[in-house]
């Protein structure tokens, strides 16, 4: 029961944060010069037409009224209608939320799959040439601009080997896995090096801890110690790294979205800002905030599952 109370409490805490985020998003986007109607009409429409359309969209009302209307709608799950696309904002965001989350989870899984063996090797051979080699390769993967990595993968696997398609999303789960392999690998090339280093450090710490010495004294093999104790404790930094980065990558993956022509939330946001599509920007800000907070909550819950002491503190 304590856990349910805790979760409810955390969800309650989200409310003031969401109000803060929505207010900042609303104010800042309205501070930006530029008129969505003028942009939509490409400078050809008459002043009369511009004024009529603004009136229809409610853009001529005072800002506090517009904000209250937005909040009022959001509370009953209505995020309004896109100015340029004339479709409900929740529908527009919903269409891209699935693919974006799929891409990120896929990237995270790939990153863990790549990072885990490398980190184990690096930790076991700490400060040796293999450890340094893994670090250098990691830094190259990390510091290479994502569009560069993306294009490189595209040339290699899409054009030369023709193993993977260079764009698209597919229809079935298997097709998603196939289509999104290259973009996910591009993101994983950025995530994996951070994971490797965090995991390696954590494993080194755990390996020198007392209870490992005890386990070793008990005669457990090195291999079993790594698998049983070390990896379990090393899960915490993995979760931390993923939680911090996935929230950011949700919007920040926009470069990868462009390169692979992938319909994600980042490019939707850039487009919406370009068109001053206020309802979409406001809706996206809320959705991003909710996702970041939910990911943090999930991360905290999994810490607890791993280590019950955190809850008591």
């Amino acid at each position: 029961m304590a856990i349910i109370e805790y979760i409810l409490g955390r969800i309650l805490q989200m409310v003031p944060v969401l109000i803060g985020v929505s207010l900042v998003a609303f104010l800042s986007i309205h501070l930006v010069p530029g008129d969505p109607v003028q942009i939509m009409m490409h400078g050809r429409a008459t002043e009369e037409v511009l004024a009529t359309v603004r009136g229809e969209l409610g853009l001529d009302r005072p800002l506090p009224i517009q904000y209250l209307r937005f909040v009022g709608g959001a509370m009953v799950g209505d995020l309004g209608k896109s100015i340029i696309q004339k479709a409900p904002v929740d529908e527009i965001i919903g269409e891209r939320l699935g693919p974006s989350l799929f891409l990120l989870v896929y990237s995270a899984v790939l990153a863990v799959v790549i990072a885990l063996p490398l980190a184990v090797v690096a930790a076991l051979k700490a400060e040796g040439p293999i450890d340094h080699g893994i670090r250098i390769v990691g830094i190259i993967g990390f510091a290479m601009p994502p569009f560069w990595v993306g294009l490189l993968l595209m040339v290699l696997f899409g054009l030369v080997l023709r193993w993977f398609p260079i764009s698209g999303y597919g229809r079935t789960f298997i097709e998603h896995l196939w289509h999104l392999f290259l973009p996910s690998l591009t993101i994983a090339a950025f995530l994996a090096p951070i994971l490797v280093q965090s995991l390696r450090s954590a494993m080194l710490d755990v390996m020198t801890a007392d209870y490992i010495e005890v386990a070793r004294a008990k005669g457990l093999s090195r291999r079993r110690i790594v698998l049983k104790h070390v990896l379990r404790n090393a899960a915490i930094p993995v979760i931390t790294v993923l939680a911090v980065n996935i929230g950011w990558l949700l919007g920040g993956a926009v470069v990868v979205e462009y390169v692979f022509a992938f319909p994600g939330l980042g490019s939707l946001l850039v487009r919406a800002v370009g068109h001053r599509d206020y309802p979409v920007i406001q809706g996206l800000s809320l959705v991003f905030a909710v996702i970041v907070m939910v990911i943090n909550l999930l991360a905290d819950l999994s810490y607890m599952a791993i280590d019950r002491r955190v809850l008591r503190r």
């Binding site: 930006v32 010069p33 530029g34 008129d35 003028q38 942009i39 939509m40 009409m41 490409h42 400078g43 050809r44 429409a45 008459t46 002043e47 009369e48 037409v49 511009l50 009529t52 359309v53 229809e56 209608k81 340029i84 696309q85 004339k86 479709a87 527009i92 269409e95 891209r96 569009f147 294009l151 595209m154 040339v155 899409g158 054009l159 023709r162 398609p165 260079i166 764009s167 698209g168 999303y169 462009y258 390169v259 692979f260 022509a261 992938f262 319909p263 490019s267 939707l268 487009r271 800002v273 370009g274 068109h275 001053r276």
Partner: protein
């Protein structure tokens, strides 16, 4: 903003074009291959299929494949041909047009009725339509009988036939549109060669053949040839080129110029560089010092090494302009070009008594060629003795500053929607046109006078002379810094036939076939 007067006396050229009804010069093989899918990758994203929601090229080019209008652009885009209107008659006072409707059907099988036409054209001229300015001279659109529509005008308005070919004058099925206007933007019901089967916002539109389309192909069977089009939104140009090479895409639009030269050498691919109604130029705000001085504006022109820009930015694609506006029908080739002459530029700067007031050269973020151009111009203008800063603004902001006159110089472009010089000549050079001479605040009474004369003239020779004079004066007044008549550069696999970019910038996919 832009108002009707510049459409007023479009004159004989357009009428002549409409009368000759140029037939498309589609690769005239009678054994054209039917069926198959065309995968087309574009850098723009269609935002809506509702033709009355004013749109960007992403939407317009897609709407053109799906919706029909009374008249339509011919295969080149330079002339007109009948669309849903089989024929028309114009009264002697040119105030009444009677259109005879073709026996056509919408993609849902419903017949195209006079009701639909009247409804669509009234909506196109309605109070919230962006292109309503084009329909302003229309007094009434009425059904004459079951197959005829009458349009009466407030005053003579020769560009009417051209305006009726705009995407914004598309004929929609009234019942579907009224039943779900928002939904119409996702799944339109029109009578064009294709219909939208699946519209995945932000990534692709799948169009399939409209079996009810009225037009006939070169093989005597109904158009279109293709069964299916996958129109993909691929914003990154490197990815488009890679996709063409890997065979994922059959056609790619907007090939970057540097890669176009490489693609030219690829034997499996055809490169198309088609002149369109587009001019890349630097907008100058004549209302802001030091650009209020003609000498400074001319110095900017003399110091701009257009040959070098054509070579390094455009990789030789295009043509050095001798005009302040795109090359539309009354363009004059005889207007003398301002040469590259840095010494002359220095003299002009000195003669203007330049006091060091800096010039902010603005560009929109993400405009890669614009960035390169700005970088080159900055150095060139500094060499002429001017202080120049490059300032970058997000495109919405840049446009806002431009329309409000809060800028000095802006690297941008203009395109013409209509095949007649009058639209842009007036919008760009007449300060009273509603856009303040397209946000330059250029004010030359002589030019305004000449433009008014040209508008009233019905004689095409006389108009040609007047427009040539305007071109000469505005260009040598340092109206702007024109850079390049830029073509549309696209590439397609050799198994694609019938591809052609029309002068307005889009393509007739109904004429395209694939033979893989």
């Amino acid at each position: 903003m832009s108002r009707q007067p510049y459409f007023r006396a479009l004159g004989a050229a357009l009428l002549a074009a409409a009368a000759t009804l140029a037939v498309g010069d589609v690769a005239a093989a009678a054994d054209v291959k039917r069926g198959g899918t065309l995968v087309l990758a574009r850098p723009e994203e269609p935002l809506t299929f509702n033709p009355f929601v004013p749109a960007d090229n992403g939407s317009i080019y897609a709407i053109e494949q799906v919706c029909d209008s009374l008249t339509e652009a011919d295969a080149t885009g330079l002339g007109l041909r009948p669309g849903l209107a089989e024929s028309w008659e114009i009264s002697a006072d040119t105030l009444t047009y009677v259109f005879k409707l073709r026996d056509a059907q919408f993609s849902n099988g419903q017949p195209v009725t006079v009701d639909d036409v009247v409804f669509s054209l009234r909506t196109a001229g309605g109070p919230t339509a962006a292109y309503a300015f084009g329909f302003e001279p229309i007094l009434a659109v009425e059904a004459a009988d079951d197959s005829h529509v009458t349009i009466t005008l407030k005053r003579p308005y020769t560009p009417l036939l051209s305006v009726l070919s705009l995407f914004a004058a598309a004929i929609v099925e009234k019942a579907s549109f009224e039943a779900d206007t928002d939904g119409f933007g996702q799944k339109p019901v029109c009578s064009g060669p294709f219909r939208v089967e699946e519209y995945a916002r932000g990534s692709s539109v799948v169009m399939v053949r409209n079996d009810n389309y009225w037009d006939i192909g070169v093989d005597g069977q109904p158009l279109p040839y293709l069964d299916r089009i996958e129109m993909l939104y691929v914003p990154e140009s490197n990815s488009r080129v890679l996709g063409l090479r890997s065979g994922d895409y059959d056609v790619i639009a907007s090939v970057p110029f540097n890669q176009a030269r490489q693609l030219e050498g690829d034997s499996e691919v055809t490169l198309e560089a088609q002149p369109i109604f587009r001019l890349d130029y630097v907008y100058l705000n004549h209302g802001k010092a030091p650009l209020d001085k003609k000498e400074i504006r001319l110095a900017l022109n003399y110091a701009a090494d257009r040959e070098a820009i054509l070579k390094t930015v455009y990789f030789g694609f295009g043509e050095i302009p001798n005009s302040y506006m795109p090359k539309v029908n009354y363009h004059s080739d005889t207007v003398e070009q301002i040469p590259y002459d840095i010494e002359k530029a220095k003299e002009l700067v000195a003669a203007a008594g330049y006091d060091g007031t800096p010039i902010d050269l603005m560009l929109s973020t993400g405009d890669a060629p614009g960035k390169q151009i700005a970088t080159i111009l900055q150095q060139a203008w500094q060499a002429a003795g001017l202080n120049v800063n490059i300032v970058e603004f997000e495109s919405g902001t840049a446009w806002d500053m431009t329309t409000k006159g809060e800028y000095q110089a802006y690297v941008s472009y203009i395109t013409s929607d209509i095949n007649d010089t009058d639209e842009l000549a007036v919008i760009q050079a007449d300060v009273n046109s509603g856009t303040n001479a397209f946000f330059t605040w250029y004010n030359n009474p002589e030019v305004i006078d000449l433009l008014a004369k040209a508008r009233q003239s019905a004689d095409s020779n006389e108009r040609a002379g007047l427009y040539a004079k305007v071109q000469d004066i505005a260009y040598h007044d340092g109206y702007s810094v024109p850079l390049n008549f830029v073509p549309s550069v696209n590439a397609y696999h050799n198994y694609v036939s019938g591809w052609r970019t029309v002068a307005n910038g889009w393509w007739w996919l109904k004429d395209v076939s694939v033979d893989k």
